[in-house]
């Protein structure tokens, strides 16, 4: 696996050679510093710890300052671990978006926008009552029955109901890298990615 940490910036669109317009998301990807190399011998599994985004030393605790100084870098805001990294890297090395090329298929992981407390129609795609007439009144978006009465005399676990929606970790698969701007660390990914502008996303291949 290859991956990098990035920040979602916004959306735009690109015209292909055939004149077709593709919606794209701009992501500021990297540069990331390798802050720890985990191996099967020492940690039980292989992983690479990457750090992204500068942070002031006065806002960091001592443990962070010392951890990052081992890799020879200033404290960073975001630290993420990537399992079984395919590139051979050492502690303190920088990973840029050059690990990706135009046309690569990638997956992007992010946290979706919080939607607050939502009903079953928006949250689970229920269809509501579906009719305005035939005795229906005030319950167009109601969930309907949630189970039997005297048997089982309880509501089954996991019954889909209204509640908090959004703010989940979501992986979008099969996105294509449309363009790479190495001088600004911008990467253009086809389609949309989870989260609001400015949120942290992981780009993996």
């Amino acid at each position: 696996m290859k991956g990098i940490i990035g920040k979602k910036i916004g959306m735009t669109s690109v015209f292909g050679a055939d004149g077709k317009q593709t919606a794209c998301t701009i992501i500021e990807a990297g540069p990331c510093v390798v802050t720890q190399v985990k191996t099967a011998e020492s940690d039980g599994y292989n992983a690479l710890q990457l750090a992204f985004g500068d942070k002031k030393e006065k806002h960091s605790i001592k443990a962070e300052v010392n951890h990052f100084s081992k890799a020879g870098t200033a404290p960073k805001k975001f630290v993420k671990e990537f399992r079984d990294y395919s590139l051979d890297t050492k502690l303190g090395e920088t990973i840029t978006l050059e690990i990706f090329a135009e046309g690569d298929k990638v997956e992007v992981v992010g946290t979706t926008k919080g939607k607050g407390f939502q009903g079953v129609v928006k949250r689970h795609g229920f269809h509501g009552v579906g009719e305005q007439s035939h005795g229906q009144h005030d319950r167009q978006r109601a969930p309907g029955s949630i189970g039997g009465s005297s048997y089982p005399a309880r509501v089954f676990k996991g019954m889909r109901m209204a509640g908090r929606m959004g703010g989940d970790r979501v992986k979008t698969k099969g996105l294509k890298i449309v363009k790479v701007f190495p001088e600004k660390n911008y990467i253009l990914v086809s389609g949309s990615v989870p989260g609001h502008n400015g949120s942290i996303v992981l780009i993996q291949k």
């Binding site: 735009t12 669109s13 690109v14 701009i26 600004k184 911008y186």
Partner: protein, 117 residues
Amino acid sequence: MDAAVQFVHDQLTAKKEHPKFKAGDNVTVNYKIVEGGKERIQSFRGDVLKCQGNGATATFTVRKISDGVGVERVFPFFSPNIDSILLNKVGKVRRAKLYYLRERSGKSARIREKRVK
């Protein structure tokens, strides 16, 4: 617009020499069409109903009356399929979006021409 988005837009949008126009102007859009493997140019002449969006995603809408039926077409400003745009008339209008033209027909659907020196 965000500076980063602006940068990407500047990189994406090839500088094209099109005349400046706005809602109310009469334009001819020469649009490339691929038909059976062959490319030809089709022209669409009408009044600009609106220009919307910014950067690489901006579009404009052209409306014309074809055989008594109103036809509207949306063109992206930076579409590579736009061969050229000709500015025929500059209109004198008081709105940026001329949606009121949709309800009108005949004489009342005309746009006054602005005399440009």
